[in-house]
């Protein structure tokens, strides 16, 4: 019974979602939307679980003076201040919650995002450094694509005598576009087709109860 109920529910919900894609007639058309609505309600209610977990974990760290516990008061303080501002004055534009969000949360997020530039540089350096032919191919194609994406690529090309008057005055850009649209797109589509098949197979395994590891057992 412990296994049967969740497996039965998975089967019913999975079949409803599949049927509503192929059968526009009621009740299938509305059942899919209804299930999505239910999920949204459950997810909204679960935010409370996340908040409680956050408070529990960090309170315990402070109480037991666990390693790096000094960060926990900052987390709890930030959480409580934001919550109080939201409940006290609302979340409309210009209110304290919005002010804190716009002047603290957004810049901090932007700071994290901007780190990406440095991480891209270090990852690219490592990827291009490998001394095999695949890494060299990657380096050459990446160099052409980068050059083709900025105006200076074609400016350099046109410095070659006769290039500007040729039938391909924007050759670097054209090659970059070809790399992106042909070999790159073919690879991306291959991955997407494979992933889609994987999605179908995973869904079937779960709908038919063949995959049960998420229930804690395989039998």
């Amino acid at each position: 019974m412990r296994l049967f109920v969740p497996l039965f529910m998975t089967f019913i919900c999975g079949m409803i979602i599949i049927l509503q894609f192929f059968v526009p007639h009621r009740p299938f058309s509305t059942l899919g939307e209804r299930l999505t609505d239910w999920y949204m309600i459950v997810a909204s209610a679960a935010i409370f679980l996340g908040a409680v977990n956050l408070l529990q974990v960090h309170s315990a760290r402070i109480r037991f003076r666990q390693k790096n516990w000094q960060y926990s008061p900052v987390v709890i303080g930030g959480f409580l201040v934001m919550m109080a501002a939201g409940f006290g004055w609302g979340v409309a534009d210009g209110k304290p919650f919005d002010w804190m969000f716009q002047t603290m949360v957004v810049p901090m997020g932007a700071t994290m995002f901007s780190l990406l530039a440095f991480f891209v540089a270090s990852a690219a350096f490592r990827a291009f450094r490998s001394s095999n032919w695949r890494a060299t191919l990657l380096l050459v194609s990446a160099f052409i694509v980068m050059l083709g994406r900025v105006p200076i690529g074609d400016v350099i090309w046109r410095l070659i005598p006769g290039a500007a008057a040729s039938s391909h005055p924007n050759l670097v850009n054209e090659i970059a576009e070809w790399i992106m649209q042909v070999p790159n797109m073919a690879g991306q589509r291959a991955v997407m087709i494979g992933a889609s098949l994987g999605v179908v197979a995973t869904s079937l395994r779960m709908i038919f109860g063949i995959e049960r590891s998420y229930l804690g057992g395989s039998d």
Partner: protein
């Protein structure tokens, strides 16, 4: 001087306003007494500002009026279509009159004649509706252009998705056939996937080093199939950490995912006979914010220095931030996602990367269960079917430029793989 210069513009604006005023608002002829003589035989359709001629009723005809049920819908909708003749006085708007099952006609809407089609919604299925189109010009109704009848109905099957239904059925049958084969004890060969084979090594390494294992299930919620696949793999990884006695950390960006992860890990520890080793506080919620989560996980990596990091699920811009930080702390990293734009980052920064379908195959591969391996074989067979279809499509489309039967075959394949 200035007034004189804008006077023609004002006159023109008034004329346009008069001509384009909607029915009911257009109040009749434009009047400029005394100007009639100079404007005899005025061809203006909607009343002339220069002469006193009244607006003429629309005489241009609406042809080929048809009404049809909207296909592949939930019902209660029909679509009208028509064409306009270019002769006579053109209509500036069309009034749609609707009568249900012989009842008195009622106004259903006003439309532009050039639109050529119009959809009416909110109708009752199974009731016959008759639509009459009345052309209007300058606020004067012309003779009804004709009528058409239709009975709206809901569709029991979306014909635009027939091809996908056929493909999905074939795929399902192939997968189920291979599962059945595996159940009967047939030996199935599944190629080795390096990233999945390295899971044991990663868990073992963390255990030996006495450092934790960090499992990151992506940043999407439980309605994302990659997160679901990640939870399934988490169950397998948790079984191994329970068996080896390693410390497993699972920071989450969604509350629902956290709850599911807690249950999955708890069940795995129970199944492994190590419920005492399960630490609920290790599967915790950080934040819903994308970069807040990245910052939080980076902090965990730098402070706790995990020996093994699993990045399995849906990732966006935070993928490289996480993977590079993991690399900097010297952890063995196994990543997997079906997000094509993030795969290069994982390949550059991680030791092993599960590409697309491998993420979905990981759980089956780790289990070594014949039934699950059978589904993997079925998936491969389905891939072969897709490859054959692609090759046939390319060949047919290429030959079709010179040989019509091949073009027909290409059209059929396009129809088969098209999803409306």
């Amino acid at each position: 001087m200035r007034i004189a210069s804008i006077a023609p513009l004002l006159l023109w604006t008034l004329a346009v306003a008069q001509v384009s005023a909607p029915p009911g608002l257009a109040s009749g002829p434009g009047t400029q007494p005394g100007a009639a003589d100079s404007c005899s035989g005025c061809p203006a359709a909607a009343g002339c500002l220069t002469c006193a001629a009244p607006p003429a009723a629309a005489t241009a005809r609406l042809l080929d009026i048809s009404a049809a049920d909207v296909p592949n819908d939930v019902g209660g909708a029909v679509e009208l279509a028509w064409t306009m003749s270019e002769e006579g006085v053109p209509a500036d708007s069309v009034q749609v009159l609707r009568s249900a099952a012989g009842a008195e006609p009622e106004e259903a809407g006003w439309i532009l004649p050039a639109a050529g089609s119009w959809a009416d919604e909110g109708l009752r299925d199974g009731v016959e509706y008759t639509y009459t189109l009345v052309p209007w010009a300058g606020g004067v109704a012309g003779a009804p252009a004709g009528s058409a009848s239709v009975v709206p109905a809901a569709s029991w099957f979306h014909m635009g998705r027939l091809g996908m239904f056929i493909l999905l059925t074939i795929l399902t049958l192939v997968i189920l056939a291979y599962i059945e084969r595996a159940k009967r004890g047939h030996k199935l060969y599944v190629r080795e996937i390096a990233g999945i084979s390295a899971v044991d090594d990663a868990v073992g390494r963390a255990t030996e080093m006495g450092r934790p294992i960090l499992y990151i299930p992506g940043i999407m919620d439980m309605d994302d199939i990659q997160t679901i696949a990640s939870m399934v793999i988490l169950g397998r990884v948790a079984s191994k950490t329970a068996e080896y006695g390693a410390n497993l950390l699972v920071p989450n960006t969604r509350s629902v995912v956290m709850s599911v992860a807690q249950e999955v890990v708890k069940e795995a520890y129970l199944a492994a006979g190590r419920p005492d080793a399960y630490r609920r506080e290790n599967i915790n919620y950080l934040t819903d914010d994308q970069f807040g989560y990245a910052a939080g996980v980076d902090g965990i990596m730098v402070r706790q220095r995990p020996a093994a990091i699993f990045l399995l699920g849906t990732f966006y811009a935070e993928s490289l931030i996480l993977a590079e930080t993991g690399k900097s702390v010297g952890a063995i990293q196994i990543a997997g996602t079906a997000m094509v734009s993030q795969l290069p980052f994982f390949i550059a920064a991680c030791d092993y990367t599960l590409i697309g379908e491998e993420l979905f195959a990981a759980s089956a591969y780790l289990s070594h269960e014949p039934k699950l391996l059978g589904s993997l074989k079925g998936q491969d067979a389905a891939k072969l079917v897709i490859m054959i279809l692609i090759l046939l499509g390319v060949a047919a489309a290429t030959l079709g430029t010179a040989w019509p039967p091949a073009a027909k075959a290409a059209d059929f394949l396009r129809l088969l793989t098209h999803v409306d």
